[in-house]
């Protein structure tokens, strides 16, 4: 069941109502049942894998805690992490490596269907094991609660990566789901669908056309497609996250944010603190930080190495493709460049206060464009495809077909939708959304909700189904 399907809405409704009538101590069973039901709708075999992986993490956690010596703890943790990462590696990257080893061939039995959400749940579980090892949380003894945590269905498809540290306590809480939480969850879902159906899927048509054969289009069209993809990805993924977080709220949980006005970040370090936040925080805590600790006595070389490995990991997390690798490396270079020169830049602007005011403008602009450049690699089918896009823009060639095959009506819908989206994002970021919403009279609130609903129903692009981040 994809998120944007009628079936899912029905399923979510049933889960919400059932949850309300479930006795508090049985809630974990409710979540297990519904989560595995949801997972079965994708594939029964992989549900077994999910359970197996959950058990591994569960027992490893207990093992780490029960081990008497530091040595023992470390061994248990390492074993658990290796097993979990190993499973992820095999199931996720096998196809990519098979492609690499024998390109173009691929007899059917070589290809394994990538288990849905494997990148997300293995990351969740690895963080659990390591957190137990670090003493941040105590190992969970309740197998049912743990299974519910691992399989929690709103987060299965594409995160956010919700760690045990904040999830399990919420699960143990006994109390009714507040009415306001239910309605805010529904609003969040509505907004998520708005972003996905009105903006992302619509932009996708334009972006896909141009990325498919950039050679047919002029530089303006290619440039717009490059911008368009980033906005599409943003609307798509933040929409998905909103649907996930909204669904989570319907079940009484609060899950972490994934985005915080990323395109207005003043530098690339800030950007990564605002884009796909649950993933970058995960990598920061479990990859970057430990690496930094290891390399801390190597000065800047250590920093550079840690950044490179971390950003490459971000790239490859999306898949073992050269384009993802290029994407990661490019961001690694950006980060290194920015990290090593930040102090000097700050000093420069301190000395030139007039220019410092301009910095608030071009800081985000430059960062945004760096991101766009890397995103071309992210989106392209191949390195040569990415190069086609880039050279197409650089050629400044206006002789070929332009972007105008995209109807004016579509552009208008995108513009209006985009503005609405960013206004809401801005209010959310400042924490003012709830105040702004509830300060309106009831009829106004319903008008806003109807506005969004009819906008979605009237202008939603119901054709395509793919969430870009779903394949991870």
């Amino acid at each position: 069941m994809l998120f944007n399907s009628f079936d899912f809405i029905l399923f979510l409704g049933a889960a919400t109502v059932a949850f309300h009538y479930t006795p508090y101590s049985w809630r974990k069973y409710h979540l297990i049942i519904f989560s595995y039901l949801y997972y079965f709708s994708w594939s029964a075999g992989h549900a077994l894998l999910l359970f197996g992986v959950s058990l591994t993490a569960y027992f490893t956690g207990l093992g780490v805690e029960r081990a008497a010596s530091e040595e023992g703890k470390k061994k248990s943790m390492a074993l658990g992490v290796l097993l979990l990462a190993g499973v992820l590696f095999v199931f996720k990257y096998f196809n990519d490596f098979a492609d690499f080893a024998a390109p173009g061939e691929g007899p059917v039995f070589y290809r394994i269907l990538i288990p849905v959400g494997i990148s997300y749940y293995t990351f969740r579980l690895i963080s659990y094991v390591v957190d137990v090892y670090w003493g941040k949380i105590t190992a969970e003894r309740d197998l049912a609660a743990f299974t519910a945590f691992a399989a929690f269905f709103p987060h299965i498809l594409s995160g956010p990566i919700h760690r045990a540290e904040t999830f399990l306590p919420q699960l143990k809480k006994a109390g009714p789901v507040p009415y306001l939480m239910l309605t805010s969850g529904m609003r969040l879902i509505l907004f998520g669908f708005f972003k996905k159906l009105v903006i992302a899927d619509r932009l996708g048509i334009f972006v896909d056309t141009i990325y498919a054969s950039p050679g047919n289009y002029n530089s303006l069209a290619i440039l717009l497609a490059a911008y368009g993809f980033m906005i599409q990805l943003y609307a798509d993924f933040s929409g998905l996250t909103d649907i996930a977080r909204g669904s989570t709220r319907l079940l009484g949980f609060e899950s972490p944010k994934n985005f915080d006005l990323p395109f207005y970040a003043p530098n690339i370090q800030q950007y990564w603190r605002r884009w796909h936040m649950s993933l970058t925080q995960w990598l920061g805590d479990y990859v970057f930080m430990p690496l930094r600790m290891k390399f801390r006595n190597f000065g800047n070389t250590g920093l550079v190495l840690a950044i490179l490995i971390n950003m490459t990991a971000i790239g490859l997390w999306h898949g073992a493709r050269t384009t993802y690798l290029a994407f990661g490396l490019l961001h690694g270079i950006y980060m290194i460049g920015s990290a090593l020169t930040l102090k000097r830049r700050d000093q420069f602007y301190k000395a030139h206060p007039l220019l410092a005011r301009g910095r608030t403008l071009w800081g985000p602009l430059i960062t945004f464009h760096l991101v766009i450049l890397a995103s071309i690699f992210f989106r392209a089918e191949s390195l040569s495809g990415a190069w086609e896009m880039i050279s197409g823009i650089a050629a400044l060639d206006l002789s070929k077909a332009g972007p105008m095959f995209f109807a004016k009506r579509e552009i208008l819908i995108l513009a209006v939708g985009g503005v609405i989206m960013e206004i809401v994002h801005y209010l959310e970021s400042k924490g003012r959304i709830r105040g702004a919403y509830y300060s309106q009279a009831p009829w106004m609130r319903w008008a806003v909700l109807y506005g969004f609903t009819f906008f979605i129903l009237g202008f939603g692009e119901f054709n395509s189904h793919n969430f870009i981040y779903f394949e991870f």
Binding site: A401, F405, T453, L457, F462
Partner: protein
């Protein structure tokens, strides 16, 4: 919770109400008929069907499924310009698979999706000139021949088109009378608003019938046809869409076509290709543009060589004047009526033995064909 459920229903009620009218319109007019049912209707019904839906276009899938189900010996393949070949023209089992492709890109896919039992022996391949225009941009939003998920298709159509149904009704594009099945069965069993409002649609053999055009033509020039040609002339002036200027041929399309010919040869399929015709006034307008459409002159030499390389026949019918056509033989700028198709077929039959032995004997008469349709427009039952 009860409060929330009630409030949700209260909220959803007006939303639901909005959908009632489009739901009624779409279901009563046959717009929701699934591809599966259409295929079944076309194979089983003795009653002549005229099927054309206005709010969806599942024909790429239907045509592929049609080939697989019927396993015809001969098919016509191409875009909507190749839709006029009918079973009556042939003495072997025939199916018109036009609209299974919309460019050269999916040619190979068509062959690859057919197994040994399903693949036809002969393919009449209609090639549109713009296939070979490197500046012509065509976006195929669906994966070719994608099977619509049955059972949920109606919901998808409803959610996509509900607003358009309202606006079309307000603009008088259709009337309530079109929703009444009984009033729409004169001569043909009409399914879909396209068939009911415009009196045109797909026949059981996969071919397409412009019934209204044929009936109206008896009384004189058809204004809608001229309007369409004017629109195309406008496109030529604006250098837009199908009429983007080009001076060379598209390498990609040639490669895709050759891949198709190679595969056909390997699988023992005989292909007869032809360049689809345009209305005479269109061609005159293009010729007046001269060097802007240089690529048009280059198509035949290139395709002639390509087809000969594999022992296949290719004919150039772009200039319909050579077939004795006038604008009256076209429903718009590029779609001909059946007479022209017959003339094309006659020449193909003469040039290609495979075709020659497959056409009906005696060869159908144009006037006879039209008479049958004009009668059908009045009768209750008609056998083709």
């Amino acid at each position: 919770m009860k409060k929330l459920i009630m409030k949700t229903f209260l909220f959803a009620a007006p939303v639901g109400l909005i959908f009632i009218f489009p739901l009624y319109v779409l279901s009563a007019s046959g717009e929701f008929m699934t591809a599966g049912r259409i295929i079944a209707m076309q194979s089983a019904d003795k009653e002549p069907n005229l099927i054309l839906q206005a709010y969806s276009d599942p024909w790429s899938y239907i045509k592929m499924a049609g080939i697989k189900q019927r396993r015809p010996e001969l098919i016509a393949l191409g875009t909507s310009r190749t839709m006029q070949f009918r079973q009556a023209f042939f003495k072997v089992p025939f199916y018109n698979a036009a609209k299974a492709i919309d460019s050269t890109a999916h040619l190979v896919t068509v062959l690859e999706s057919l197994n040994e039992k399903e693949i036809p022996r002969i393919i009449i391949l209609g090639l549109d000139p713009n296939f070979f225009n490197p500046n012509w941009v065509w976006y195929s939003s669906n994966t070719p021949h994608a099977e619509p998920k049955s059972g949920r298709e109606w919901l998808k159509i409803l959610s996509q088109k509900w607003l358009q149904v309202y606006s079309d009704f307000i603009n008088r594009k259709f009337r309530l009378k079109h929703l009444n099945p009984k009033r729409n069965d004169q001569g043909f069993h009409r399914t879909g608003l396209g068939a009911r409002v415009h009196n045109r649609g797909f026949l059981n053999d996969g071919s397409f019938l412009y019934l209204r055009h044929i009936v109206k033509r008896e009384a004189g020039p058809v204004p809608e046809a001229q309007r369409e040609r004017n629109r195309a002339l406008e496109d030529i002036r604006e250098k837009d869409d199908l009429y983007v200027p080009a001076s060379r041929l598209s390498e990609t399309s040639l490669r895709e076509l050759e891949a198709f010919l190679i595969l056909a040869k390997r699988r023992g399929v005989h292909v007869a290709g032809y360049l689809t015709p345009m209305a005479p006034s269109m061609l005159e307008a293009l010729e007046a543009e001269g060097p802007n459409y240089e690529y048009l002159r280059k198509i035949t030499p290139a395709l002639q060589k390509l087809f000969q390389k594999y022992g296949y026949v290719y004919e150039d019918f772009l200039d319909s004047r050579k077939l004795g056509a006038t604008d009256a033989h076209f429903v718009d700028d590029v779609h001909e009526t059946g007479e022209i198709t017959l003339r094309i077929l006659k020449r193909l039959a003469a040039a290609d033995a495979h075709i020659g032995t497959s056409v009906a004997a005696p060869f159908p008469e144009e006037s006879e064909m039209n008479r049958k349709y004009l009668e059908a427009a009045k009768q209750r039952v008609f056998t083709l």
